[in-house]
Symmetry: C2
Subunit: 334 residues, 2 copies
């Protein structure tokens, strides 16, 4: 290849990769040859020689969920800034599909590490991953010491959301989104926050108003809200475990002629853009997605480049309560 037009091969490699020991003169010579021949290093060959792919995988259950697509954006940006491409995949929460990604499979070499938001895999299945695969887990799992975990403090955030509803003077609070089974840890933490907020004020959460949903989407929210309204004593406030659920719930409320928040106050979780423009706009828990994304990427790359695995960390990104119309009511417009 290019060394025909000048020197040798080791040198070309050095120049292209910007290594130290090259004379200005040789460097120029190589550069000229490169330009002349329109030479482009072959990534595939480089990957094989280096035993790395320069790619990381981002594996999430659903890509059309705004929370994930907003996160995805930041992950791509962060990875690219560090010279990595992002390979993405959606699992639909299917346990087999999820397992395939973290197991020692044939695709293993395709990515140097994985950022993974599990849904169908419980804690135990998660622990059974390829020990050589650098792994960062997103969401509400706790680390078992073999991977890093990045998330927000779900219990605290949920308590905060619930307290906000109680502060409004509401007393018949419902919660939509519980998932009382092994893979529903995320949901269970939120339910815990919901209960704790009540307990902290000497109140008791009404267990019959805690509704389970298989997913956190609009449809589930709409259906759960309908079920709540059919109760003899419907709630006067609802804590939804995602903004999508909240939007679905509001949809049901409005179409039944109820006013939000006058009749029923609603608060969501995730702070997706929809919630800032919907009618009414949706109060929510806003996790710092940018920080989650960059932290996850940074930890993963550290894991990738470390000869010995770094200690497993539990990383907490900050969150805040954002109050909008669905709890505060519409602000008068001139």
């Amino acid at each position: 290849m290019a060394e025909l037009a000048g020197v040798s091969s080791r040198t070309v490699s050095n120049v292209v990769n910007g290594y130290a020991n090259v004379t200005e003169r040789t460097k120029a010579r190589v550069q000229r040859a490169v330009d002349e021949l329109g030479y482009r290093p072959n990534v595939l060959a480089r990957n094989l020689a280096q035993g790395r792919s320069g790619q990381i995988a981002l594996v999430v259950p659903y890509l059309d969920t705004p929370y994930f697509s907003e996160l995805l954006q930041s992950v791509i940006r962060a990875a690219r800034a560090r010279g990595y491409n992002v390979l993405i995949d959606q699992t639909d929460g299917d346990p087999e599909h999820e397992r395939a990604f973290i197991a020692h499979g044939s695709r293993r070499l395709l990515f140097d590490g994985v950022i993974f938001s599990p849904l169908g895999l419980d804690q135990q299945a998660l622990a059974d991953h390829d020990p050589n695969l650098p792994l960062v887990i997103l969401g509400e799992r706790s680390s078992d010491g073999t991977f890093d975990h990045v998330g927000i403090d779900d219990v605290a955030a949920s308590r905060q959301a619930t307290e906000h509803l109680l502060d409004l003077g509401r007393r018949r609070l419902a919660a939509i989104g519980d998932q009382p089974y092994a893979t529903g840890e995320a949901a269970q933490l939120r339910t815990r926050g919901f209960r704790e907020a009540h307990a902290a004020r000497g109140l008791t959460a009404r267990e019959d108003l805690i509704i389970s949903t298989p997913r956190f989407n609009r449809k589930d929210g709409a259906q759960a809200m309908a079920a709540l309204l059919d109760l003899p004593e419907p709630p006067d406030a609802v804590f939804c475990y995602s903004d999508l659920v909240a939007l679905g719930a509001i949809h049901t409320l409005v179409s039944r002629g109820l006013r939000v928040p006058e009749d029923v106050a609603v608060i969501g979780y995730d702070d997706i853009e929809d919630g800032a423009y919907s009618n009414p706009t949706v109060s929510t828990i806003s996790p710092d997605k940018e920080m989650i994304a960059t932290t996850a990427v940074e930890r993963l790359l550290l894991r990738i480049s470390s000869p010995t695995p770094p200690p497993a960390l539990e990383l907490r990104a900050p969150h805040k309560l954002v109050i909008r119309e669905s709890t505060a009511g519409r602000v008068a417009v001139p």
Copy 2:
């Protein structure tokens, strides 16, 4: 490697790749060795040897735009079903970034082909792509004979949307989303449909009610709508060039105390899920996204596997008009 535990190497390759000529007996022997050693073929080496990566790239301007994330989902599914991984990237509409993807660059070998939704590149810049790169363009560009193009008939769809507003008896129609410059072809086609619908009924589109926006998002929609309402004679109906724009516009209308659709009817474009749950729900043009995605993937893989480039095709996916509350009003609920 594995042949130690049985036979040779060529054979292993054959077995692993499921080629024809292998005796059952040898196959079994190899299989046993593979299992025993936990052997996994090295993708990187295979890629180099085959000169292909088994990956396709999907390049879109924004990933947090529901239209793209919904599309992305279908693309991933279609590609995976055919044994391909999807590498994705977001360009933010930056011309340089976009150019880098279709030019003959060092990342070229990383993907075997590209599905590309351009935004910052005009027709001419698009034509200047690596001729060896299999390419499928999404959106409203016309092919120059070197790539396939998949989209819907934008002029017809826009005419249909506009006619729907005229059918409601509205006569002061506005349009939000025009982009009267080289890279705004998509928008211009919609504007053309808007005008044609008027002309077909002997009416004339009001040019002062055609508003340009840099992007197709909620914020732009909200601002444009505000500008329209500040006019001495505001419109009684609005055709928005995306559902996000429509949601933004509705946000402004509602917060100014106007009723949708009684005071102003609104129709969008794309049929994203938000529009089916918003308040009011949003009438829209619904492109067949699943078909767009699978068609794009199929054509791209055909292009990748063809020794001689197949003829460039203009592929039109179907669309339909979906009428919801933002034009039809709320349907009474018992």
